[in-house]
Amino acid sequence: MLRFFLSTIYIFSFALLGLAQHDHNHDHGDGHDHGDHSHAADGGHGHGATICGEQAHHEFNAGDNAIHHISDANVYSIGPLQIPLPVILYAPDKGWDFFMASKFHVELVGHGDGHVAYNGYVLDGGSVKRVTGAGFPEGEVNISGIVHKEIEVDGKKRDAAFVCYNNNLYPTDAKSTADGGLFGGGITSFYDFSITKNVTSMAIVLSFLSWLFLSVARAAKRNEGKAPTGLQNFMEPFVGFIQDEVAIPFLGEKSDKFLPFLLAIFFFILGLNLFGQIPFFGGSNVTGNLAVTAVLAIITFIITNINGNRDYWGHLFTAPGTPWFVKIILIPVELLGLFIKPVTLMLRLFANITAGHMVILIFVSFIFIFGKSGESIPGAMGGVVGAGLLTLFMMAIELVVAFVQAFVFTILTASYIGAATEEHHHDDAHAH
């Protein structure tokens, strides 16, 4: 019931915000436009403001809107409120910058665009970008907007953001990413180590989980030899479940050593999955960010391989019991498998959570599509009903996905560690 109520409020607020933002754009149509077409609430309908001589397109794009909302940001959004977060930037050519995102004069109600450039950095749709064009001044500078254009880099079309200042367009750099150009990122002119929305969410969730488990541990100590009650009674089955269904079947007598790691993985993922589903409260897509799942997968990879015993490495490099030509084929396959396992862990969690968030956001976008971004209120109301039902359905599924993905990640981690630490008996070594 509560969920239905919250979802309804959530959806209605989107509709209202869309209408409000539409008016807002009209009021500030004097060259102070954000010029950013990737925002759900940019209520434009093709009226085409002229910024720095460029034609800005104002068309609602559900895909862009969804991506904006699942992205990490340097502001924390509670409902439509944008709370500035600490920004920590490092550029190899000019060193460290520490300041609050409020320096960008970010809108309190809006989508995280900064009206001010600070030390050559701007805030575009909630994330920091560095102005790279020569002649852009340091310190606090009022900018007239940020324009997104498609440019061609190495024969590929890419979306690029330009800062409008003094009727000139300055190109910007996005922050450095660790994908090595595989997904369109790579090393740029600066690194962003900010306490972002995802980092803040992580801090909130981990503080809550720490409090929860420390109090359960205290209760366990206090109630030793007595029947558990309250919080302890509620949380212990989860711990017992991981212990009995995941750790002991895969790890046997070594389960005690790895149980804290498995529990940490499980509750870290579960807590963040569930936290991301709270409407209004940021809706952080933490476990749907490849950086987060990559860290978990890398730690799993390290734990698995530093605990691998002689049998594990022996099987990997010698494939005992097979003819020599099979060995030649098997060794590269086994070596690949070593890395494919954590990569699948990383991608599975990332894809599931991101997909869930995107589907819900696309459903919510129906309100704007049917309402023609605020022009047609009956259309928007129809969209509210349709999107409300679909979102409710999707949220119920996502609730299951949150548990299932946390469980799947944990059980696969346990099975990889189990395979690496398993003791083989000599007689059945040839059976493999």
């Binding site: 922050k175 994908d179 369109g184 180590f193 995802n198 720490s210 804290p260 940490a264």
Partner: protein, 170 residues
Amino acid sequence: MFFLADFNVIKPDFGLLFWTSIFFVLFWVLIGKFAFKPIAESLKKRTADIQDALDEAKKAKEEMQALNSKNEDLIKEAQEQRALIIKEAKAAKESMINDAKAKAKEEANRIVSSAKAEIEAQKKAALVEVKNEVGQMALTIAEKVIRKELQGNPDQASFVDKLVGEIKLN
């Protein structure tokens, strides 16, 4: 192509990699040590405790059964012993009564025979006394007769004296 350009959740950024590593490792190390380990241990201990309690209950039940059968044996034995004791007591009673009867008879016989002896002695004494009395009386009578006869007859007196002297008292 907008997807690859804007889909930034797939581009792992260094800040998030850094903070996630720090946060996760801290959570794992601290909460693992101070919460997960004690909780898991307490769960394990409770499982063992419950198993122990069940085992103990089973053992107690078995002991109870053993005790019950032992008690039954004891009761049986006691009953047997009681019967034996009663039997012995009965035998003792019989023998005591018989002994007493025999003793009583003997005593009675003894009393009767001693009474008989007494009676005999008394009878004898009485006879002696009667004899003496009769002797006295006879003497007295004889004396008187003789005195009357012999008054004036001195010969008679000496004869009587001689006769009296010859009478033997037995």
